[in-house]
Symmetry: C2
Subunit: 395 residues, 2 copies
């Protein structure tokens, strides 16, 4: 705790943070509206807005044309003051998305990948995806403030992938360090299911929920947990791995859908589960049996999470979220048999973009921490943050 | 957020809270030591100590006799300024413990109960246990500042017992309201496994751990979760109920131990499991088979919790904690087969007192919130807090 003296500048900073928080991701607002929403006096609000405008965080926007009389001045957060990139590195794909400081997506790229591709090939593909995404917006690497990456596997707090069942090349790999050499800014690496869970609470069906179980269901099955409004990593960053519980049967869970008797020979393996789910929707009894077997397994792991955590909402996300209409009813009936309190059950609306959007939201959290947290250093103008001393980035 | 002006008194309060926090539950300290530990200047520390002494929260203690020269003055928190009571209301027992504001236990009582006792009888027994506990210290009901109660069942945020498998009379019962009529102070009611988990992090083997899975194992099986340093209740206060997962088999888990072939006829049912556990410790193969079957079930529910939450430590508490030496090795070997990261595994040292101690710690948290939280009203002298307007207490 700081000593009592000299803390008026500190209070001014806290007031500035309140104003910034009110403006982030919102419409432009007048001084009176800002004073209302923040509880600050109008003179204090004016003082803060002047300071933030001088720094470059806030700008006045021109009045709407055709307005009669003298309209009140309106101010907005300069979300275009910097750029972030989200990357989703899966076994079979690489996605990149470029966003402004409010998380609005400006450009996206996607390219296929092979699970067994050698490390150099995968890194080259990542660089291509990122460069193409920047090119779409006429930007370059040096415009990036932060890159956040979601990938499959156990990722520790330093961004090292301890193990990954889906990408053999990811094994005890300092991915944050490797990508730090590719980008001239801070790179953050986190487990993909966790980032997808974050996206659901920031912009998806779990928006503003404090306790969320996110089911990341597709070729692989995983979970991401939001507890008391925060991403839950656990003591050793190994939280969310209910897939390992033998009694839930999640490790080979999708095989029920991949190998159902109705899947035609020659169908690419990545389309098999979708074929079974579509046939079940159309009433095929063999497909419905396969869905029932899959739902049995899905329900065991989900019930364990619901009984332990009592979340407000369970979100079915990942590749199978397109078939939430087929999967949620049997999941619901099974959960109702054992759960003391039923959470809300929803299918994700973010589809295949859940991880890359979560990566962007994670990058925003990081920047908010650097610039706008109550315990951040004194407020400073919007300039790309120096790469952390933790990372090996040559910048 | 408050406006900028007039916040020096606010800063003085924050400084006072820092000093109080440093003194709580600790040895008496000199001004220099306090200034060191808090980071405040020595004049600020002196000012705060004078204010707290005038209020009655802090007192100077006499120098140790036989000290040479002029010893520095030392100060301590006046833990004896108020009194708390913890109650543990189980199906078969009622425990009461009286404590000072630092949670030091001053007196304890325990009496048996019957699961099927009518509500009035159980309430009368609670009042007897509490009165006897106060009598041991020469105190009366009016000396109590807060009473916290742990009981079996699903307890909602308002202290209503929604359901209880062990106490039939506890069914959709406003227990907080009923006990509020018994005590002339604020009464708080919470699930017993959660309070026991809290006690482990405040004074037990999980002291200071941020993520804890507490196994409450005995005649009944339950869990209490501490996540990121806080008691986890869940959205509808139904967290921790992995006992309901059929695949874990916890609901009849203890029957493996109660009904093993070696239990002599005529042994009271409450001693059967202990008999089997003791025989297993002594090498009886039939008893060891029963323990192995029980450990299989215990491990499924525990693995679900560990895989989902990745806790720092798992504590085996409750009645069976006396047999932790018998139960932990088979639990450990089963968890090692499936868990990605093994947490620390420990037996509780709090024994049968875990719930009543947790209730005391819960009452302390409540008082800290009233008196010493950063967002509490202005610092005030130690006087029994008024009963909350939420409770129906007639005071």
């Amino acid at each position: 705790m700081p000593p009592m003296g000299g803390d008026l500048s500190r209070l001014r900073q806290l007031n500035a943070l309140t104003v910034i928080k009110t403006l982030r991701g919102a419409e432009a607002a007048t001084l009176s509206a800002l004073a209302d929403r923040t509880g600050l006096s109008r003179p204090s609000t004016k003082e803060v807005i002047d300071e933030l405008s001088a720094m470059g965080w806030v700008e006045e926007i021109p009045p709407a044309s055709g307005t009669m009389g003298r309209p009140a001045r309106r101010y907005r957060f300069r979300a275009d003051g910097g750029h972030l990139m989200g990357l989703d590195i899966g076994a079979y794909h690489i996605r990149a998305a470029l966003a402004d400081l409010d998380g609005n997506v400006l450009a996206e790229t996607r390219r296929p990948a092979h699970p067994d591709a050698p490390l150099e090939d995968r890194l080259a593909a990542i660089e291509q995806a990122a460069a193409a995404c920047l090119g779409l917006s006429g930007l370059t690497m040096t415009d990036l403030w932060t890159v956040a990456v979601g990938t499959t596997g156990l990722v520790n707090a330093e961004g090292r992938v301890i193990m990954s069942a889906s990408i053999p090349a990811w094994r005890d790999l300092d991915l944050e360090g490797l990508l730090g050499k590719m980008f001239p800014c801070r790179v953050l690496v986190e487990n993909d299911s966790r980032l997808a869970a974050l996206a659901e609470t920031r912009r998806g069906v779990a928006r503003d929920a404090r306790d969320v179980v996110f089911l990341h269901i597709g070729r692989r099955m995983g979970t991401g947990l939001i507890i008391d409004g925060r991403l839950h990593r656990g003591f050793g960053a190994a939280a969310g791995e209910i897939v390992m519980l033998p009694e839930a049967g999640w490790r080979d869970g999708p095989e029920d859908l991949n190998n159902s008797a109705i899947v035609p020979e020659g169908l690419p393996p990545e389309d098999a589960a979708g074929f079974t789910l579509a046939a079940a929707r159309d009433g095929d009894p063999t497909a419905q049996d396969a869905v029932a077997r899959f739902a049995d397994k899905l329900a065991i792991g989900t019930a364990a999470a619901v009984l332990l955590l009592d979340p407000e909402i369970v979100v079915l996300g990942g590749g199978f979220s397109r078939s939430a209409d087929v999967l949620l009813p049997p999941l619901r009936s099974r959960l109702e048999r054992v759960c003391l309190r039923m959470p809300k059950l929803s299918g994700s609306m973010l589809g295949d973009e859940c991880v890359v959007l979560g990566a962007i939201d994670y990058a925003i959290e990081h920047l908010d921490q650097l610039f706008f947290a109550p315990d951040a250093p004194a407020l400073r103008p919007p300039v790309r943050p120096a790469t952390s001393s933790m990372g090996p980035n040559p910048a």
